[in-house]
């Protein structure tokens, strides 16, 4: 009879311990996705407080620009690997929010998918924390639900007090839902073993006219779920494009 070698014993121990570990840590993910988002205005880095002219010829300035990205998923053809519990609030003012790091399973991927906003379930699942904490000032209290994207500033074309422009886009149910799925296709399948770096560009000018031309002179304010909010969601869902995919 052959006794097991010390090596195989160690291997067994390792397997056993990792078996125990799995109960605590359900993640089987062994690679990392680093998603970086760069905000641009007219192709140049977005500067808060700087006057710009949108595609409709209107001058405006932005003071606040933030939005939720959630339900991140990696795509390989028809196969979608959803990364559990991914909720991020991207805030232009805070650079650290523009780099998102999540553990993902190693594999070959053809693209990235994300939900722009917070899924309907989390809108109605009671008190949340982290990126979804109401202290983030992205939650409507009287008509429960998350503000999916917020853009505030001013424009001489606005007739609102202090020429403000204020777009709080939300609504998670029915035909006026502002939830949008964004799919970013990679130029070629990417094989990830340890780390993948995906760099996206978000072009703020798209907010006003990517799908529906929405002049500031006509709508400087949108603060409730409805058809107008849904049109802004259509527009800003088109602001993302791929800059690069790298395997360092």
């Amino acid at each position: 009879m052959r006794f097991p070698s010390p090596f195989s014993v160690l291997l067994l121990i390792a397997v056993m311990l990792s078996g125990c570990q799995r109960e605590v840590d359900e993640e089987l993910s062994n690679a990392q996705l680093e998603l970086t988002i760069t905000h641009q205005s007219g192709g140049a880095p977005l500067q808060l407080g700087t006057p710009y002219t949108n595609g409709l010829g209107e001058t405006f300035t932005i003071n606040t620009f933030k939005y939720y990205l959630s339900n991140l998923a990696l795509v390989n053809g028809n196969n979608v690997v959803t990364i559990p519990d991914t909720y991020f609030l991207v805030d232009d003012e805070t650079d650290s929010t523009k780099t998102i790091k999540v553990q993902v399973p190693a594999g070959t991927y053809t693209g990235l998918r994300m939900l722009l906003g917070v899924d309907s379930t989390r809108n109605v699942s009671g008190a949340q924390t982290g990126a979804l904490d109401p202290v983030q000032d992205m939650f409507w209290t009287w008509n429960t639900g998350y503000i999916m994207a917020k853009l505030e500033g001013s424009s001489p074309l606005s007739s609102a007090p202090n020429n403000r422009i204020q777009y709080h886009i939300g609504g998670f149910a029915g035909t006026n839902s502002s939830l949008r799925t964004v799919t970013i296709n990679f130029p070629a399948p990417v094989q990830v073993e340890r780390t993948m770096q995906v760099s996206l560009i978000a072009e703020i000018m798209r907010w006003f006219d990517a799908v529906h031309p929405l002049p500031i002179a006509q709508t400087a304010v949108s603060m409730t779920p409805g058809p107008l909010a849904a049109q802004y969601a259509d527009n800003y869902s088109k602001m993302f494009r791929l800059n690069s995919v790298l395997i360092p």
């Binding site: 006794f3 097991p4 070698s5 010390p6 014993v9 067994l12 121990i13 056993m16 311990l17 078996g19 125990c20 109960e23 605590v24 809108n123 109605v124 699942s125 009671g126 008190a127 949340q128 924390t129 904490d133 109401p134 202290v135 000032d137 939650f139 209290t141 009287w142 008509n143 429960t144 006026n176 409730t224 779920p225 409805g226």
Partner: protein, 347 residues
């Protein structure tokens, strides 16, 4: 030598695997130290609750923390407006004898504060159903300028800075971390325990009491003329309806339309529960009727033909004078005096 090494490693394997299995098992069997679990009892005849207790298990310490928060002005901007300022136990947690309630800086609320009970079975909150989860409801009054006028951020900051709260959060949640989620979960734990199911009506249903002749006659009237909307056992069907009271010219409150944006929802409000109705006067979303008699009279003779008027109220409700007397007697059997005197809910 080689054999010996192998035997040794085998022994090590057995030892470590024993420890490993023990470690795993210990994890499963470990009795967590901490808050004391509390069970939620469903009254006889009540259905399964809507509230997700699995996501916020009731504990003695959690409920106590929630009660302290409910009665503490720290949740408001100037310290004067705890939840309990508008939700008074002796009025079944409505505001006693107020059409509208008072908030920060002498402001009035825009709607009548409803009673609070049997919240575990509610799907929607507020007269317009704008709140879809019990846990997120307190955010509305806390941040409303005419109510508690605070920010969630500042409430959390004040709680963290206090000397009283960190140990209470630690007792309820295992560590002293204070955040809005824990605050809201604690509040939910307290208010969800406010169950009202011990009125005379309930005792009659359980066979522990009997109606008087008037009450019984009133119950019969109720069942044939009111129960479509005010369904037992909660005395509401949870729907939104226009009951023909007409637009309040000052408040201009369209009700449900504010939430849905749908013209068909204009002037619709949540059908309120009639439990404890004798205590929750004045009535309607704006508190315009001061008595039960006035409210019932509205359904007999006061229905205004407005768009979206509920089909069941097109012709009003035919009631004789004695029907009204009997109905009133029955409605008073819905008063749960053990609920309003329950020390568990008192400060």
């Amino acid at each position: 030598m080689k054999l010996r090494l192998t035997i040794l490693s085998l022994m090590v394997l057995v030892l470590i695997s024993t420890i490993g299995v023990q470690a795993c098992r210990k994890k499963e069997m470990e009795v967590p130290k901490g808050p004391t679990p509390v069970s939620f009892d469903i009254p006889q005849g009540f259905p399964k609750p809507e509230y997700d207790f699995a996501g916020n298990p009731l504990t003695k310490e959690g409920i106590e923390l929630g009660k302290k928060l409910f009665y503490d002005g720290i949740l408001s901007a100037d310290g004067n407006f705890p939840c309990a300022s508008c939700h008074q136990q002796f009025a079944a947690f409505a505001t006693f004898d107020h059409d509208l309630s008072h908030g920060f800086n002498d402001a009035f609320t825009t709607r009548n504060a409803p009673g609070m009970f049997n919240l575990a079975w509610r799907k929607e909150f507020h007269h317009d159903g704008g709140i879809l989860n019990l846990e997120t409801q307190p955010l509305a009054p806390i941040t409303a300028k005419n109510e508690m006028a605070e920010t969630v951020d500042n409430v959390v900051r004040k709680l963290r800075a206090s000397t009283t709260y960190p140990p209470l959060f630690a007792a309820a949640f295992g560590d002293a971390e204070i955040n809005s989620q824990r605050m809201l979960k604690a509040l939910a734990q307290f208010v969800v325990t406010m169950v009202s199911a011990n009125s005379k009506y309930d005792k009659v249903k359980r066979g522990a009491a009997s109606f008087t002749q008037f009450e019984q006659a009133g119950y019969t009237v109720f069942q044939s003329k009111c129960a479509t909307c005010h369904q037992e056992p909660f005395f509401t069907d949870g729907s939104f309806r226009n009951n023909g009271i007409g637009l309040n010219p000052f408040l201009k409150d369209g009700g449900r339309i504010r939430i849905t944006g749908n013209a068909a929802d204009s002037m619709k409000f949540l059908v309120p529960s009639l439990r404890n109705v004798a205590l929750t006067f004045p009535y309607m979303h704006d508190g315009r009727f001061t008595s039960l008699q006035q409210s019932i009279e509205h359904y007999r003779s006061g229905i205004k033909q407005t768009p979206n008027l509920d089909p069941s109220l097109q012709l009003g409700i035919a009631l004789t004078n004695s029907d009204i007397v009997n109905l009133t007697a029955f409605l008073k059997t819905l008063t749960d005096s053990s609920f309003i005197n329950d020390k568990r809910f008192a400060p």
